[in-house]
Amino acid sequence: MVTDPTLNLLVGKASDLFANVIEKNVREPIRYLINWGRLYSLWPVHLETACCSIEFGAASGPRHDLERFGMLEAFGSLRQCDILVVQGTVTRKMAPRMKWVYEQMPEPKWVIAMGACAISGGLYVDSYNVLQGVDKIVPVDVYIPGCPPRPETLIQGIIELQNKIRKSKV
């Protein structure tokens, strides 16, 4: 009687239904809440790789004020940080350190490649000491073009990252 295929089908349907109910009523709100918290609380690691750090500094200044989005301007320890903003050229000497910093950050973490040099080497495409694009060593979520990107562009990149987080799974 247990082997009855109709019963099996019924049990399967019922468990699907339960899964659906859980998905809709339990997981979805939690996913929303956790993602909502994450997207408004992006703390950047203080890792300056090159000259784009000036525009990053300017973006946290009073005119552009990254804290509106819940970003702190410069946070102390990488253990409490969520995003790694690669601020410009990554040289061969910096690359292992940057990878190390990325690995030491706690999950979940995101990477923003800021500036042409971080995306592809940019102006330093033929330099002997420059990594041609940071996506070779760390996974990049948002690319922000510019040399250096204006603070407005950086803010747009951060909004794009927020949109990405909003849709992401937990």
């Binding site: 040289t91 061969r92 000497k93 495409v125 033929d126 330099s127 002997y128 000491n129």
Partner: protein, 159 residues
């Protein structure tokens, strides 16, 4: 001799008499003096220039001449403490063979040359004898190619 270069000419003349034509005057322009000397005399000449009042090294570098198979080592001295010499930049050049790139350091004459000589070391492979920290400064620790500013080192994609 124009009026602008009286001080400069006087300086070079004094040096020439002191070193008995072991230094060559390359040119004297307003505010610019360039002399060249042999590596063996370099230290004595540098000391004499320091005693004239040129107390800082603004730049120290080298140029690679693969055709002549030699390096030209350049020192640019300036003066910050004596007012009448402040406008003058003193360039001292010397050439060393490429197969034996060694030269005596000027660290004890101009302490400001320390990092410059380290940079020249890593960029050209020129060893400065008696320099206490003859090690890499700017290049990565795992650099195993030839020194990058030599002419036979070519950039990727730009042969």
């Amino acid at each position: 001799m124009s009026k602008n270069t009286i001080t400069e000419t006087k300086l070079v003349k004094g040096l020439k008499t002191k070193f008995n034509k072991q230094i060559t005057e390359e040119y004297v322009e307003p505010n610019r003096i360039k002399i060249s000397t042999s590596p063996t005399n370099l230290k004595a000449v540098a000391l004499a220039i320091k005693e004239l009042g040129f107390d800082q090294i603004i730049s120290q570098g080298a140029t690679d001449y693969p055709d002549d198979n030699l390096f030209r080592v350049e020192y640019h001295a300036i003066c910050v403490s004596i007012k009448k010499f402040r406008r003058i930049m003193f360039a001292i050049m010397t050439t060393i063979p490429k197969n034996k790139p060694e030269i005596e350091t000027l660290l004890d004459i101009w302490p400001s040359v320390e990092f410059h000589e380290q940079e020249t070391f890593e960029n050209f492979g020129i060893t400065f004898l008696n320099h206490p920290r003859m090690e890499r400064l700017l290049l990565p620790e795992d650099w195993d190619d030839i020194p990058p500013l030599r002419k036979d080192f070519s950039l990727p994609g730009r042969d």
